[in-house]
């Protein structure tokens, strides 16, 4: 039954699956047809089938009851489209059982548990999705796992995209995100694994030679683009930004786009595309894809890497930043930051942080497994790894700006300075230094969102530095922008604090001093009159509470 749905992208990959037609085997499980001695001679394929079935039943029997119950329950929840139950099963049930029983091994194969779910192929596809995700994360996938997980993904997307109309499935958002995330992760993992030609066995080499379109960049992109197109998510986002009504939106996005399943998959595919394009080194396309999406701090898993990148950017282009971010960054990367701010000698620090924070770049093209001769040549002259390639591009940009920090520190000291004098301070050739000044000028300009530009590729050139200069023939004039002293905030805060202290003291009961007998009498007479003014005053204060209007 898994073979019935034709995957769009590639030819059959089933050499490694054995010839057994599972349809026969699964037909009657646990029944006694096996031991019927009326048939003395059983032919070879049937014998194999029977043996296989026996093995599967044994495996099924070995599964812990808790797991079996979970699978049945999970299946029922999916059938009922019971979103809350599915979410519980997906988020805690699966993980709990993994920790308990499958921390270091695989979950039972889909075929084995199939009887528990009446062979529901859709559920089995979902089950396999989880199964392979587990394999990739806890255990090293072997070549079969890789091809099979690809096949399963194709089945899943095929089902979602090519059924007659939107499918009646409902899945939690977290799961939908994880499906896309995992798909891209497996793609990347495959590319990295595939590029390592040397340690492959002969069998693996053969399989790779015939791999065809499995895990090709085209098919991965195809999936993501198809999900985006089916859900009309771009039109949806644009309509939202233009403030269209709910009814209009339903018109625009069609029957697929209105279903949350497809809408979320479309949206996550946009982000997925961003990732894939970055992995392949196509940054402009990555940014273009995000045109309709508004980024609101959606990324939080990789905060550390972001701080590293921030350190790099700030070292290259010093500008005023929020104190909180700056402090956290200095905590983690203070040492590297100081080095990077010093120009040329900071290059190793740049390298270290770049490699840490950059995406795991991949090469779009596989080594030429189909052609033995080319493959040999490839091994002898290994091409540079993509990450190294991108790193050297980055570093060449960094080097171009290497003179800037030193120039900055000198310029900060003056309002105007002759170029010759400056070059003397720097012990540099005057003409060279003037050229470096031009670089510094360019380095302090960047394209940034000024007005409401759409998308991430828009913007205008503005200055990012607090230090600016211009050269008048040979005289350098410098201007710095500074932050005025912030009196008001401090003033207000302290005034309010003082006010609070005053109120507290004012409302506290008077301390009672130790008294002699005569004092007690005098106090008793004085107490009632002093109580009155206090209450009058509180009465007054209440009347003034938030009645201040803007001028």
């Amino acid at each position: 039954m898994a073979q019935q749905r034709k995957a769009l992208w590639e030819a059959d990959l089933d050499e490694e699956l054995h010839d057994v037609d599972l349809n026969i085997a699964i037909g009657n499980y646990g029944q006694n047809g096996l031991y019927d001695d009326a048939q003395p001679r059983i032919d070879e394929p049937t014998l194999l089938a029977v043996q296989h079935q026996v093995a599967q039943q044994a495996a099924l029997a070995q599964i812990p009851d808790a797991v079996k119950r979970f699978i049945v329950h999970f299946h029922q929840a999916v059938l009922d489209n019971n979103l809350s139950e599915i979410t519980v099963a997906y988020e805690s049930g699966w993980n709990r059982l993994t920790e308990k029983f499958y921390a270091k091994t695989e979950w039972p194969e889909a075929e084995i548990i199939a009887p528990l779910v009446n062979d529901d192929q859709i559920f089995l596809i979902l089950y396999r999705e989880l199964y392979y995700r587990h394999v990739y994360s806890r255990i090293q996938p072997d070549i079969d796992d890789r091809f099979h997980s690809y096949e399963n993904s194709c089945e899943l997307f095929n089902y979602l995209l090519n059924s007659d109309g939107p499918v009646p499935l409902e899945l939690p958002e977290q799961w939908l995100w994880d499906i896309i995330d995992e798909f891209i992760y497996q793609f990347q993992s495959f590319c990295v694994w595939r590029s390592k030609v040397k340690p492959k066995t002969d069998e693996e080499l053969m399989l790779l030679a015939d791999a065809g379109q499995a895990w090709s960049s085209y098919s991965v992109l195809n999936v993501l683009y198809s999900l985006i197109q089916k859900s009309k998510i771009n039109e949806h986002l644009t309509a939202l930004q233009e403030g269209k009504s709910a009814d209009e939106i339903v018109e625009i996005v069609g029957e697929y786009g209105t279903k949350p399943l497809y809408r979320m998959l479309g949206y996550f595919s946009l982000i997925g595309l961003l990732r894939v394009h970055s992995l392949l080194g196509d940054f402009t396309l990555a940014l273009k894809v995000m045109e309709s999406v508004e980024l609101n701090q959606k990324i939080n898993k990789t905060a550390d890497r972001m701080y590293a990148l921030f350190a790099v950017c700030n070292a290259l282009s010093p500008s005023r930043v929020d104190d909180n971010i700056s402090n956290t960054m200095k905590e983690k990367y203070g040492e590297q930051f100081t080095k990077m701010s010093r120009g040329e000698e900071g290059i190793p620090a740049f390298e270290e942080l770049f490699l840490y924070a950059c995406p795991k770049f991949i090469s779009a093209n596989p080594p030429p497994y189909e052609d033995a001769e080319l493959l040999q040549a490839h091994i002898e002259e290994l091409p540079v790894e993509p990450a190294q390639r991108h790193l050297s591009l980055f570093l060449s940009d960094v080097r171009a700006q290497a003179p800037v920090p030193t120039l900055r520190s000198f310029l900060k000291l003056y309002t105007s300075l002759d170029a010759k004098k400056l070059s003397n301070f720097l012990d540099a050739d005057e003409e060279e230094m003037v050229q470096q000044l031009m670089v510094m000028k360019q380095a302090s300009r960047s394209i940034s969102r000024v007005e409401n530009e759409k998308g991430l590729l828009g913007g205008q050139m503005i200055s990012t530095s607090d230090l600016d200069f211009v050269i008048d023939e040979n005289m350098v004039h410098i201007a710095e922008s500074t932050v005025g002293r912030r009196y008001a905030g401090w003033f207000i805060r302290n005034t309010e604090h003082a006010q609070r202290v005053y109120d507290t003291v004012h409302n506290s009961p008077l301390p009672i001093p130790p008294k002699s007998a005569s004092q007690v009498k005098a106090d008793a007479a004085a107490a009632p009159p002093s109580a009155a003014p206090v209450s009058q005053r509180t009465g007054q204060r209440v009347a003034w509470g938030g009645n201040v209007k803007a001028a």
Partner: protein, 242 residues
């Protein structure tokens, strides 16, 4: 001010190309011819469209048999003239490493020319203009000049535009001699070029004044803090009740 939107969508791009670049058809290998023709159009008419050229490189990335080194070299040449935009490096990031070419009859010219192109790019990026011209006119770049840049209409003038962009951002006025070095022009050619720019030359001192633009006008600013009325509410209410 330079706007990124014209970089992303040049006015000279036709609707046909726009659909290709922005849609899924950009992945269709049979469209590569259209984009390559567009590149040659850019070369002949002094136009430039970065995203369309990147689309060609992307097709080469996924379909290595479409690879045409002449096209790549021309794209890189065009990208050189787009500084300070990062186009050159964007192109390079799309050039996957190629396996050793097994076709000795048609050697791939790119590996030989790439170092020269990269050096030229780095020199321009570091505003080392005199060094750029020296390298460009030297023997090392001979093959590049004779086979490629000669075909690219107005290449040298486009590089001069890069120079001018750098100069007018950093300078209010500049000596003719220095400017001439940067532009690789002298005497009448230089005078003519400066006149065409509309810049005025002070004949006695030999200094060119550069018209004001946002980059070469500087002023110190002090960022004042802004106080909004709501922040003062608490303080004012208390003054009333005191």
């Amino acid at each position: 001010m330079v706007s990124a939107s014209t970089w992303a969508t040049p006015s000279t791009r036709t609707e046909l190309i726009e659909n290709l670049v922005s849609g899924v058809d950009r992945y269709n290998p049979s469209n590569v011819g259209i984009l390559e023709d567009y590149l040659y159009h850019q070369i002949r008419s002094e136009e430039y469209d970065c995203l369309a050229n990147l689309a060609i490189l992307k097709l080469y990335q996924f379909n290595p048999d479409l690879y045409n080194p002449d096209v790549v070299i021309n794209i890189l040449i065009k990208a050189l003239t787009s500084l300070p935009f990062p186009d050159f490096n964007l192109c390079i990031s799309l050039l996957d490493e190629r396996s050793a070419s097994t076709n000795p009859d048609e050697p791939d010219p790119l590996p030989l020319l790439l170092p020269v192109l990269t050096s030229l790019h780095n020199l321009l990026q570091q505003c080392r203009f005199p060094a750029f011209w020296t390298l460009y006119r030297s023997e090392k770049a001979e093959s590049l000049r004779d086979n490629y840049t000669v075909e690219c209409v107005g290449f040298e003038d486009s590089v001069r535009e890069v120079v001018i962009r750098g100069v007018k951002a950093a300078f209010k006025s500049i000596r003719m001699e220095r400017l001439g070095n940067y532009l690789n022009l002298s005497d009448e050619d230089l005078n003519g070029y400066v006149a065409k720019l509309g810049w005025s030359i002070e004949a006695s001192t030999g200094v060119v004044s550069i018209p004001p633009n946002p980059d070469n006008q500087i002023e110190s600013t002090v960022v004042q803090e802004q106080i909004e009325l709501p922040q003062l509410v608490k303080v004012i209410t208390h003054t009333q009740s005191a």
